[in-house]
Every structure is written in structure tokens, then in C-alpha cells.
Symmetry: C2
């Protein structure tokens, strides 16, 4: 036993281990080069400045979205990718219209009190004469069910579910409370409500309402839906508790128009061995209309682009084709992600994996991988290559929205997971502007994506 | 062999392991409680708002520093600590005086060009008539040595050493370039220079000069010293390259006055078993005068305070005495840290360890421990308790400045290591204001310190 072990050990010592070390050193050297290039003279930050400051908000169907597509195509071409093209997508065209108005009407103690709100994406408007009704506060759907139609008919339902600040990761709280914004107005419509106010999905108590998409159901009345700032949500809740009957006036002018033609923007570095096998990386080009979409998802766009640029810049020749996609319409329809996946299916495109950055341009911490455990465990052996740069975890979890239609075709999906503490201060609100992004944090994320693409391309999944 | 192993295994299985698991679960529950309290209704953020917005800049010796001492004492008392007291410290009293002026004088292509500068802390002023001389650019001391006095006599030496953006951790670049700010002006004085301009220690290219202390030597002429914004450093360097002889006018009105009496502020929760053994936690109460000292080191102050408050709040009864110290004068003298250590030595105070937060109020990532490797390895077994909150590493490294005099007495010192990417955007500049701090990031740091104190107190080092 002892002798045979010794033999084995000798073999491992002089053949396998040194070889593994050589590979590992080469791997580390390439990864270091990617991070160094990104930190010292990366392009993502200045690209993001252009996208935010020169193009600005780019809600699906808006002139800003059209400009963003043009910019996307131009910048990919300027980087000399092997192929740059536009993929047509029919997208929804929701328009906010004239500024919203809202107030408490004739409160006993304070008279009329203005409320800071914003219409939810995809919502119908109230029309120019607005709606006025008593407000009934609930936390969630269980409250609707418990009281039934009688309590809510002709009323404005106020969903006042807070994001749970106790979670160390803010996305857990978003998952929990986000469902109400998405499905609450439709649910309230089933109980006869004529309007809905949803507490903003923000971690802080402040004056900035956070929009986001809501969704109606077939054969259920479409009820106008707005988000209220967290501060005014608290104020309104206190007023209801103190006064009982509180009336609110809401006026929104939003409308859903006919679908429009738009595009995903696609760029590629062709593979030198398996050109037909694709590693796709991306984010979404559209943003909400209230701000510049700096973190959501300008960051993901410029990082995905930068990941390819960095690999190109260091002269890396990929075995497989590396593709970047700027997806259109993640925010209120996911049409870009769906169109890409449909096209891939129809054309038998073989994806090794899809990688997405859509959680803000903050310091990267982890990759979340939606794959078989065996694959994840193999990837976890790569963690030591990333740890010097603060990315310390590869875990089994959700990949991302725009690549979720690929997942349904069996493709492995992977999400970049940056620090989440600040995200829901800015997310979907007027605060999501370029000045909230730090250059180094953004560039570490871009380098992490480049390094992961390199690992997957060179070592397989 | 096999049987005795089996016996051992049985003992471990049924006695030690279950016990360890119970302890571990209790530990996790207490740590979860600390983080949850901090995230849901922590006080640190509102305390920091007060310190920044109501007190503001608090340079040692200034009225702001006096107000900060009063506030520190009041707030510790309001939290019902067992004992709150002031520890006298004689501190340097450096005053910036009237606003600085600087310009390039009569450049061939651009005429007079204003420069954005700020005097370095502890620097002598130029006097009301300023100084005007040719500028000689160098990177470091080796350039002074290489050329000798002839090249620098009567000139203004311009140290244009950049922070190296390639390092994943910004503090590495600060350590490397920071030495020039601290020792460069004295060194230039030895070579006959009449003034020094130091490139600001900032990671970004912008218009905000970063101050910081410099230090003179005995029997070497004290040369006026300023920091120049990174943008103007690049501009000045280009001008020197293009034009050769470039003259600069500098005017600073700073002065070092007589030492003044100030205080460290100290608060305690008495130990229930070993009252005489101390775990001390702290940050520094003084700040530079250019801003509110939000990250440096208002964050460390409110986090240290919060760590004790959280432990108190959950009803934890410490075995050993837990002490918080707001140190005075870290920035330009370290007198508070030195006075505390001297007092401790004279009174045979037994410290278990010193813990410091002075690297910004960003998401916590690690603890750096200055101790024997054996102790660090034992502490590293605690990492799984912290990982759910994003703190993933305990490593051997520097503890901190204010606790470094304790280290010289053999005390174990520990530093909280938050994410460092944004720190040197703000550090020592006008940008270090309250709005740069995120509530959740700050509170995660406070909870991490509380959790570490709990671990050390309950399990020993």
C-alpha cells in the first residue's frame, strides 16, 4: 500500500502537478493582464459617460433607444470585431406622456397634500381628468383575498409592502417585494379597484419614486398603476391610520402604443477552432425614462462590450466564437432576449453559455451559475484565479433575464453578481445617473467577465 | 490503529462535534441578530449625518474638533455605556489660513494659467508675497539623488508620481505613492528647493486636490508644500515637456501654532468576568478641513460606536470590558493614539486586542490582523460566520494607525478592510462628504465589528 502510494505520489509530483501549475500560472498571467488593462486604461467608463450623457434615457420605442442602437453598432465596428449586425425585434412602445400628478384630497389635518409618484411601466393612464377615490392600504395579495371585492370596489388599492432591509443581499428583498409591483395592479383589478399605488422598491426612505414594469391579465380590467416614494408611502400610511378615510387624486397620461421595430445589436470575435460554438455575453440597451440608466443597465452594456475588447486587446485568439449582444427591451417586455433565443433555436445556434451583467456596475463579488451542480463544482475550482480581484464566489443561482429564454433551451446561463448594497437606492429612479458609477468598480466587473470568458473558452465548461 | 481511531471518532462524533455545532449555531444566531439590527434600524448613518452636517470639518485644534469631542461624549452617555470619559491629549494646531493661490506664470503658449492646489497639512506657508520659481518635475527621491542640488536649488520641485491604478486594492497604490507626500517636501528641502508641488493621491483624473500630512526634518529648511489636482498635474507635466522652462507662483498662508489641549473620547461596557481585560475598538474623530470627513474617518467613528451599541442593544453581557475610543489627531500627528497607548502602559492596562475602522464606510470585505500566524489561523476558522454578509477573508496584515502604538506594546491589532475602490476618489479632498456614504454599506461594517468583538470576547484569541 505504502509503496504504491509513493509511486502514485511521485507521478503526481513530477508530472501532473507541475503541469497543472504551469497552466495555472499562464492562466493567472492572462487574467492579471485583463484586470490590469481594464483598471489602467479601460474604455467602459468613458463609453458609459457617452451612453448616459449624450444619449441618456432610452426607453424601448423612444428616440433615445434608436440612438442607442446606432451608437452600439458604431462602437462595435470601431473596435474591429469580426462581425457586427442588427437583429430586428418588434418591441412594445409605452409612453409616459405628460407629467403625473397626485395628491391626498382634503385630509382632515393637512388639507390637500401632494404625493411624489411615477406611473409604472406598461400601465394605462387615468386620462386627463384623473381618478379620485378612497385609498385602502394592504401589504399583499393575502389582504385582498381576506377582505374580498366589497372592501376594494371603486377604491384605490395601496400596496405598502416594504423591501426587507434585513437581508444581506438586497436582491432577496427585491425578489420578495417585486412581485407586487409586477402583478399587484392586475390583482387589484380583479377585486374591483379603480387605481393602484405601489410602494417604491427602494431600500432607503427618500423622495424618489422607482418605476418598473407591471403586467395586466386578459379579461381583467386594466387599472392605472403608480409607484409612490417610500417617504410618501410612510406618510400616507400614517395618515390612513390616523384619519381612517383618506382620498387620493391620481392623474397619469401614459399609453401603450402599437409595437415598433427595434434591434438587438450583436458583435463577434470569430472562434479559431469551433467557429459555430458561441459564448454570448450581454446586457440590456434599453433603460427606464426617469434617468440615464447608468447602473441599469448601461453598466452591463459597456462591461459586455469591454469584455470582448479586452480579450481582443491582449491578442487573445478564442477557440470558440465570442459574441456580445446589447439586448433591447428587457425592462418592459424582454422582447430582445426572446427574439435572440428564437433566432438561435431556428438556426440551430450552439451556445456554450450565456453570460449577463444586469445588477449594476458595482465591485464584482460572484458569478451565479444556472447549471448542473457538477459543472458548477468544476467552475468553483476557478475561484482562486478571481479572488485576488475580490470576486470570491461561484454559486448555483439565477443567470439573468435576457438570457433566460436561452436557458429554456438548455443553455447554461451565468450572471455577474456585483455588490448589491447601493443598487436599490438608484434602480428605476431618477437617481440612476452616471455620477453614481465608480470607474474602478465598473472596470473590475468588465475584467471579471473577460476573465470568465477566457476560462470558459480555453478550459470548457 | 483502526480501533483506536474509531474510538476517537466516536468521542468526537458524540461529544465534541455536536457541542461545536451547538456553539456554532448560537454564534450564527447572535451574529445574524447583530447584522439584522444594524441593517434594519442601525444608528450609524444618522449619527454620521450629524457629525458631517452639524459639526462638519474637524481638523485637530479647530472649533469643529472641540464640538466633535462634546458630541462624542454626549452620544456615548446617551447610549448608557457603563463609563464615559475624556482623555487629555496635547495636539498640534495647524491652520490653513486664507485660501491658497497658484498659477503658471507667463507660459509661452497659454500665458498665466491658474492651478488647483491645496496646502499639505503641517506645511509652512509661503507668506503673503508667495514664491515664484521654475518648476522641476521628478517622480521620486531617486531623481533628486541622480541630479543633485545644482538642479533643484532655488526651484520648485514637482513630485509627479501617479498612484498605480493597476493594483486591485487601492491601498497598495497609496502606500507606494503616499511616502512622497509625507517625506518629499523635506527631501526636496535638502536639495535646496524653495517649494514643492505633490501630485494628489487620487485614483481619478479630476479637479480636486487631496491634502494630507507632510513631515519636516530637524535641521532641514522647511519648504512650503502643496498638493495639485491630478488633472492639473498632467497639464503641468505636459507644459514642462513642451516648453522646458515653466515658472509657477505659489501662495499659501498656513501656519503651525502652539500645541493645544484636546481629548480622546472613551466609552465602555464593563466586563462581567474579566473587567480588567480590554477589547478596544475605535477610529479617529479629527478630519481634514476640506470636507466633512465622512469616509475619513467619520465612518470609523460611528461604526465603532455602533458596534458597542449593537452588542448592548441585543443584551450581550461581555466577559471582558469592551471599550470604544474616538482618537484625536490621527491625520497630522497621531497624538491621540500615542497618548492612549502611553496611558495604557503607565497604568498596566491589559488589552486583548485593538480594532480599528479607518479605511472608509464601504462594504466590509476582510479583517487584517497583525498577530502571530497561529492566532490568525485560529481566527480564519471564523470566516464562515462572516461570509453570509460578504466578509470573506481574515488575513495577516496591518492593523491600523491609531492602534499602532499599542501594537508596539505587543497588543494584537486588527483593521476592518472594506471595499477600497472608491476611497481614493474622496480621501482628503473636498469630495469626502456625507452623500458619498451608503447606509447599508456603513451598517454592514458596524455589524462586522460588533460580530468580531463578540467572537473575540466569547471565544478568545
Amino acid at each position: 500500500m505504502r509503496n504504491s502510494l509513493l509511486v502514485l505520489f511521485t507521478i503526481f509530483s513530477f508530472q501532473i502537478i507541475p503541469y497543472a501549475q504551469d497552466t495555472s500560472q499562464k492562466t493567472d498571467a492572462i487574467i492579471e493582464q485583463l484586470y490590469e488593462k481594464a483598471l489602467v486604461d479601460g474604455h467602459a467608463y468613458e463609453n458609459l459617460r457617452y451612453l448616459c450623457k449624450e444619449i441618456g434615457p432610452r426607453l424601448t420605442g423612444s428616440p433615445g433607444a434608436t440612438s442607442a442602437v446606432d451608437w452600439g453598432q458604431d462602437i462595435m465596428k470601431s473596435y474591429g470585431f469580426d462581425s457586427v449586425w442588427l437583429q430586428p425585434v418588434m418591441v412594445p412602445h409605452w409612453v409616459r406622456g405628460a407629467p403625473e400628478k397626485a395628491k391626498v384630497v382634503g385630509s382632515k389635518r393637512m388639507g390637500d397634500v401632494p404625493l411624489t409618484i411615477t406611473a409604472l411601466g406598461n400601465s394605462v393612464g387615468t386620462g386627463p381628468f384623473g381618478i379620485s377615490a378612497e385609498v385602502v392600504e394592504v401589504e399583499g395579495f393575502q389582504d385582498l383575498k381576506a377582505h374580498g371585492e366589497e372592501k376594494f370596489k371603486g377604491k384605490i388599492v395601496f400596496f405598502n409592502k416594504k423591501m426587507n432591509n434585513a437581508y444581506p443581499r438586497t436582491f432577496m428583498a427585491y425578489s420578495e417585494a417585486g412581485f407586487i409591483r409586477y402583478a399587484g395592479p392586475a390583482e387589484a383589478g380583479m377585486y374591483g379597484a379603480i387605481g393602484t399605488i405601489v410602494r417604491s422598491l427602494g431600500t432607503e426612505t427618500d423622495d424618489f419614486p422607482h418605476t418598473g414594469s407591471t403586467s395586466y391579465k386578459l379579461n381583467v380590467p386594466k387599472v392605472p398603476a403608480v409607484a409612490i416614494s417610500t417617504k410618501d408611502a410612510d406618510m400616507l400610511s400614517q395618515m390612513i391610520e390616523a384619519e381612517g378615510n383618506v382620498r387620493v387624486y391620481l392623474e397619469t397620461h401614459c399609453e401603450m402604443h402599437e409595437d415598433k421595430l427595434s434591434y438587438n445589436v450583436v458583435g463577434e470575435m470569430k472562434g479559431t477552432e469551433n467557429q459555430e460554438k458561441i459564448i454570448v455575453v450581454g446586457g440590456h440597451l434599453d433603460s427606464w425614462d426617469l434617468a440615464e440608466g447608468a447602473h441599469d443597465d448601461g453598466a452591463g452594456i459597456v462591461q459586455s462590450l469591454e469584455a470582448l475588447r479586452l480579450l481582443n486587446e491582449i491578442g487573445y485568439k478564442p477557440k470558440n466564437t465570442l459574441r456580445v449582444v446589447f439586448f433591447m427591451n428587457e425592462e418592459n417586455g424582454l422582447r430582445g432576449g426572446k427574439a435572440y433565443a428564437k433566432w438561435a433555436e431556428e438556426n440551430n445556434v450552439e451556445h456554450i453559455c450565456g453570460i449577463e451583467s444586469d445588477a449594476g456596475g458595482f465591485t464584482p463579488r460572484a458569478f451565479s451559475v444556472d447549471a448542473e451542480l457538477e459543472i458548477i463544482e468544476r467552475m468553483q475550482r476557478w475561484v482562486p484565479h478571481f479572488q485576488p480581484y475580490g470576486l470570491y464566489k461561484i454559486e448555483k443561482s439565477y443567470g439573468g433575464a435576457d438570457i433566460s429564454p436561452l436557458k429554456n433551451q438548455g443553455v447554461i446561463t451565468i450572471g455577474l453578481r456585483p455588490d448589491s448594497q447601493r443598487y436599490f437606492v438608484y434602480h428605476h429612479s431618477a437617481l440612476d445617473t452616471f455620477d453614481k458609477v465608480n470607474r474602478r468598480e465598473l472596470h473590475l466587473g468588465a475584467a471579471s467577465m473577460a476573465a470568465l470568458m477566457y476560462m470558459i473558452d480555453s478550459q470548457g465548461l
